[in-house]
């Protein structure tokens, strides 16, 4: 309604102006530059009127559209010399296995990468053997199955994307292998998302059928519901499984899955800095000797004695 009335007002003003200018030009000698200016002014006024009218109803650049920014948490790996908390990674794998793995795959992570990080060799072997993988066909060409090995990748819950969508009302649960790197805010965002489901969406928010409200998710309407509740899993090390504890652990695990080289990278970086800076200082020291002859030489000019 409002936009229409504005448009009408702009149009009638414009019409009045054109009539005035038309009368003026018939009286005086026609000047084409006047027409041009009036035309440009008209076009400008109409365009800004339309844009303004559109801006009244346009639903862009709202806070909801961008999602709430997650706060920064004190992650164990923050800081140049800090590593992941590996006990937390181990608990996080448990949360992933018991909660997230029902919908989310972890395609790019192989069982062997867990060895020495969160679990021992025999533990990981036992975990892999619980899953069946395609084997070479037998002599008659019949497909065979075999238990998993360390070299296999962690299997996902669905055989393909279509199956995943069909099981989740059309929403595709993203693969979590690189999710911490794939989202703005990284670990902070994942943690906030997992713990940030309000009991009720803000008043006036209309959600599509089957959607849930989460302020951190851009747009606010997310297909995944709240999954972490207090005491959902029972940790083997006796840590109280509160929602935020589980969210922290599983985020730490996912961060490791995204950056398995993290701890080694920091170690290598430290080594590189130590070696390169000592080599640099050495080169500065050596330079003194290399340049000593040049720096200490002296040019003298003795003019020839004038002939008498």
């Amino acid at each position: 309604m409002f936009s229409k009335s504005i448009f009408n007002r702009v149009a009638s003003k414009a019409a009045a102006r054109t009539m005035a200018t038309a009368a003026g030009t018939s009286a005086k000698a026609a000047s084409s530059s006047k027409f041009l200016i009036t035309g440009a002014a008209l076009a400008g006024v109409t365009a800004s009127g339309l844009l303004y009218a559109d801006s009244l109803t346009a639903n862009a650049m709202t806070a909801a559209e961008h999602g709430l920014h997650s706060p920064e948490f004190d992650w164990p790996q923050n800081g140049p010399f800090e590593t992941f908390d590996h006990a937390s990674i181990r608990r996080g794998y448990q949360v992933y296995r018991e909660v997230c793995a029902a919908c989310h795959s972890l395609d790019r992570v192989a069982w062997r990468t867990l060895v020495g990080v969160s679990h021992t060799n025999s533990e990981v072997k036992a975990m892999a053997e619980e899953f069946e993988y395609d084997d070479e066909p037998d002599d008659d060409g019949n497909p065979k199955k075999r238990p998993g090995k360390l070299a296999d990748n962690i299997p996902g819950p669905y055989p393909n994307e279509q199956a995943a969508r069909a099981a989740n009302q059309g929403a595709l649960p993203p693969d979590l292998s690189l999710i911490v790197k794939a989202r703005h805010g990284g670990s902070d965002y994942i943690f906030s998302l997992l713990t940030g489901y309000p009991e009720e969406p803000p008043e006036g928010v209309v959600l599509p059928v089957g959607a849930n409200y989460n302020p951190y998710f851009p747009g606010g309407s997310i297909a995944m519901g709240r999954v972490l509740f207090d005491d959902l899993v029972e940790y083997e090390d006796g840590t109280p499984a509160t929602t935020s504890q589980m969210a922290k652990d599983v985020t730490q695990f996912l961060n490791w899955a995204s950056e398995p080289e993290h701890d080694e990278r920091k170690r290598q970086g430290l080594k590189a800095i130590i070696i390169l800076s000592s080599l640099y200082l050495l080169s500065v020291w050596v330079k003194k000797f290399k340049w000593a002859g040049i720096k200490t030489r002296k040019f003298t000019f003795t003019p020839p004695k004038p002939r008498k």
């Binding site: 706060p71 992650w75 906030s192 803000p202 008043e203 006036g204 928010v205 109280p240 935020s244 922290k248």
Partner: protein
């Protein structure tokens, strides 16, 4: 004849008036609900230690001066929107207000207040 008319009117009424349980059921339900709530309260008191650390911190932050102020703004907005919803012709409104911004302001404050202290409470 009369009974059929009464039935018809009843039916009409059912169409427009939201369904309400019978008085007897109502009493029982409310009793049950009260009991449930009582039990819940007791449980909460018993399990105070097992409460989520983040929720506890956020609650603490909500009770600070700024938290109260922001919460008040949100509640005010919620009330306003609730009133608008009750107005006739709400469905046809071109612009419907929501309280996302007020909610974000409150939540952002709670986050910035609770987040730095949370991880020292987690293992």
């Amino acid at each position: 004849m009369l009974s059929s008319i009464i039935d018809y009117v009843e039916e009409l009424k059912d169409q427009f008036v939201p369904y309400v349980a019978k008085a007897e059921d109502d009493v029982e339900d409310s009793n049950d609900a009260d009991e449930d709530e009582d039990e819940d309260d007791e449980d909460d008191e018993d399990e105070d230690e097992a409460k989520d650390q983040y929720d506890e911190l956020k609650e603490e932050c909500l009770n600070t001066e700024k938290g109260k102020e922001l919460h008040h703004h949100y509640l005010e907005c919620a009330e306003r929107v609730q009133k608008q919803k009750e107005q006739p012709g709400y469905e046809d409104l071109e612009h419907k207000e929501d309280c996302v911004e007020e909610f974000f302001h409150l939540q952002h404050y709670l986050d910035s207040c609770a987040a730095p202290r949370l991880f020292s409470k987690l293992k």
